[in-house]
């Protein structure tokens, strides 16, 4: 069935200089030059609204607008819903989507407000006073022990030390490009934070950034070998992902080319299918065995992170993980991104990270085991304010991926699964990969993190807090607006005005 295109290319002929940049830059082949008529023409049915042409058009002659040719209005059956039905009726297939859940579900970050000092205690000016954002992730000992001479035995379980409480979340080499990985690795290294390999192994060129790398072990075990495990600063066991809890991953064979297949240790062109569960983990005891296997393999030098999707009984799951020997729990909320996920899963499974985080932090404190693990919060952390709210709710640090992709140029067109990312991020096509110059990509990531760090400091200073640890779990610094009693109770915060 033919639809009127979702987007329209609006080209101002009076501004167009026929430089043909749009044509050259569109991997979807929307634009073309008609030499006879000396005009640029477009095939809008191919447009995904990635804004590449709009961004590069030197005379701002282009804009992409949402088509107003809609089906008859229906509050129940939206245009989108109807078209999805048509598409499925045509293909018999599962719908695929990319990036995070775009639906208008509650974003609790936006319903939480941050405190500031007035009169009774002073706000602190981060430009004048030291303001610390460094955090250590890992298990903290319950009791100090002393050496025979009375000094403290300063040996600690392995820790990850971050200059600021933000890290780049897992995105595999394969789902994103070599240059995207290079950008992340270089930025993490320059910033003193960490990036995460995702389930695609670690390209040999990036072993040099190992000190700032978290290597992931997921259900497909792609790219996992001894050197890989030892290359990073921490190992993450991926049990689930916020965008697609309960299912595995699927890298199409078209992306498993060249170095991608080599790094994953799979034949070139073969689909890389990660199973839904780890087939050696059917229970919490099994997880404990994998945690300790990995620790044994790396001589207990590296902290082990267990990453789970935020699902209904996340607090209990986290409690189990905290007792499994894991050093860090990463919780990924339902708005987290993905390179490809079945639409129905992405849009309907999992719970918001804010509630999951609050519930987990509370449960671990109630059980007196909060010190056993650090908590990383991920799944749509969009700004420094979100970071501050997450830390105040109880997170030790945040994972960001969508925001990192945006910094590298992503325009959230949500077409990663097509492999034709015009921004050189979610693609393996060499001509497209080239569009992301890691010099620029890494610098933009560094800029973003610098900006966030400044903002975090400003917000902390306003609260009269001069070190991030005094913010962690400091829920008194938060107030809810427009939330129900139940929501407030789960978040563990008061309503504004209270």
């Amino acid at each position: 069935m033919n639809f009127y295109p979702e987007f329209e290319v609006v080209r101002s002929d009076s501004r167009c200089i026929r430089c043909r940049v749009c044509e050259r830059q569109c991997a979807n082949e929307v634009h073309w030059y008609d030499a006879d008529g000396k005009v640029m023409l477009s095939d809008e049915s191919k447009c995904v609204n990635c804004q590449r042409c709009v961004t590069l058009c030197p005379t701002r002659a282009l804009k992409i607008v949402k088509s107003d040719c809609r089906l008859r209005e229906n509050a129940n059956y939206s245009d989108q819903t109807i078209k999805e039905i048509y598409r499925q009726a045509e293909t018999g297939g599962v719908l695929l989507s990319s990036m995070g859940n775009p639906n208008p579900l509650p974003v609790y970050w936006d319903r939480i407000l941050i405190n500031a000092s007035q009169v009774t205690n002073p706000p602190i000016d981060p430009l004048r006073e030291p303001m610390e954002t460094r955090v250590s992730l890992g298990k903290k000992p319950d009791h100090i022990t002393r050496n025979p001479d009375g000094s403290i035995d300063t040996k600690l379980p392995p820790q990850l030390t971050l200059s600021m409480p933000v890290m780049f979340s897992a995105m595999s080499y394969g789902s994103i490009s070599y240059n995207a990985h290079a950008s992340l690795a270089r930025a993490a290294s320059a910033l003193g934070i960490y990036y995460n390999t995702g389930e695609g192994g670690l390209h040999e060129d990036f072993y040099q950034y190992g000190k700032n790398t978290i290597v992931q072990v997921a259900s497909g075990r792609f790219g996992v070998h001894k050197d890989y495990l030892e290359a990073g600063a921490a190992i993450e066991i991926k049990m689930g992902q916020g965008a697609k809890p309960g299912i595995g991953g699927h890298l199409p064979g078209t992306k498993a080319v060249g170095d991608v297949s080599k790094t994953r240790m799979i034949p070139e062109g073969s689909d890389a299918i990660s199973p839904a569960p780890h087939h050696d983990i059917y229970s919490i005891e099994d997880l404990r065995q994998l945690v300790y296997s990995l620790k044994e393999a790396t001589e207990y030098r590296l902290p082990v992170i267990v990453k789970v999707a935020a699902v209904h009984n996340i607090a209990a799951i986290a409690s189990g993980i905290a007792r499994s020997g894991a050093d860090i729990i990463a919780i990924d909320g339902f708005r987290g991104g993905t390179g490809a996920a079945p639409t129905r899963i992405r849009d309907n499974v999992g719970i918001p990270i804010e509630l999951a985080l609050a519930a987990v932090d509370k449960r671990l404190r109630d059980e007196g085991i909060r010190n056993n693990v650090s908590i990383i919060c991920g799944g749509s952390v969009r700004s420094a304010a979100d970071v501050v709210k997450a830390i105040a709710l109880g997170a030790d640090a945040c994972y960001i991926a969508t925001a990192a992709c945006l910094a590298m140029g992503c325009h959230l067109c949500r077409s990663c699964h097509t492999g034709k990312c015009n921004w050189g991020i979610a693609t393996q096509r060499p001509d497209l990969v080239k569009r992301l110059n890691p010099d620029i990509g890494s610098q933009r990531l560094i800029n973003l993190m610098d900006a966030w760090r400044h903002e975090i400091k400003e917000l902390m200073g306003g609260m009269g807090i001069n070190s991030i640890e005094a913010l962690r779990g400091n829920r008194l610094m938060l107030r809810g607006v427009g939330l129900t009693e139940k929501e407030l109770q789960i978040l563990g915060i008061s309503h504004a005005g209270e």
Partner: protein, 364 residues
Amino acid sequence: MIPLEGQVRIPSGCAVSAMISRDGRRMNGERIIESMVPMHDRSNGLGGGFAAYGIYPEYRDFYALHIFFSSRSAQSACMTLLKEYFEIVQDEHIKVRKMPQITDEPIIRRVFVSPMQSVLRHLQIDEKELVVRVVNRINAQSDGSYVFSCGKNMGAFKAVGFPEDVGRYYRLEEYDAYCWTAHGRYPTNTPGWWGGAHPFCMLDYSIVHNGEISSYDANRRFIEMYGYKCTLQTDTEVITYIADYLLRRQGLTLDEMAAVIAAPFWSTIEGKSGADREKYTYLRTVFPSLLVTGPFSIILGFDGGLMALNDRLKLRSMVVGEQDDMVYIASEEAAIRVMAPEIKNIWSPAGGEPVIVRVKEGAF
């Protein structure tokens, strides 16, 4: 209805003052009361109090519980509870001087107790832990009984009122102590509840504090994992518990405790050498949630000494004076000048640097 301490978090400004004899000489409460007079404006009449060390030498082996009761029935219920765990050695009124400035008095009792060995054996805990648990239980029940002092050979005296009035009300000139601390309160919202006045005590630790800590909920939620219950929602309370946790339960020294709650900046730690750097790194890494931020000056009294500490940015005033065996500490120099008019050696300690004063071994 305006909520009480414990029902809502109440920030407050304050005045603090302390004097201690390193020789262990015992002094009556006259001078410490006088020291609060020039700092009258730092209080607003909604709370004042004192802690005194070495005042019950004849009962030094027993825990001196100072308790407010709202009624006879509360008193009787509480005593029944106490008797389950303790031998009651002495149960008496704390003598007061009736005065118009101090009103709405509760029943104020002093009870010397000794833990029952059978109970300790049964619960497999030491006697300090038993005292802590029982006191916490009484205070958490909030049914009209409130234990506001429970150490040995020391005691806190507090009430709603200006501190100099509170001191005279409790007839502190009749007590002799080698160490006195005092507190005047400026709460921003409270009808004034006697239990909410300072010092706040746990065993022999007493805290007087001036400030409003911004890390409060981070500190509270951490410390509550270890059996403490911050019922009053005051800074002083949580700092007292932190002190108890770090000093008694983790066995840290006073210096180490200072390095946790007013931790040196990472940049400072990195500038230190070898063992020191490792120690400070370790303490910050292990106890991040016990870092106290925001303005504070606190005086922690304990059996045999005291420690004064400012927040690491020194956002609150605190001065120290020294003369012969005496050390004086106060929010304002004027207070020290009242206690020791001829004093020469007065300084302002740097933020985060603890001033620790100990009485000569065996002198108390």
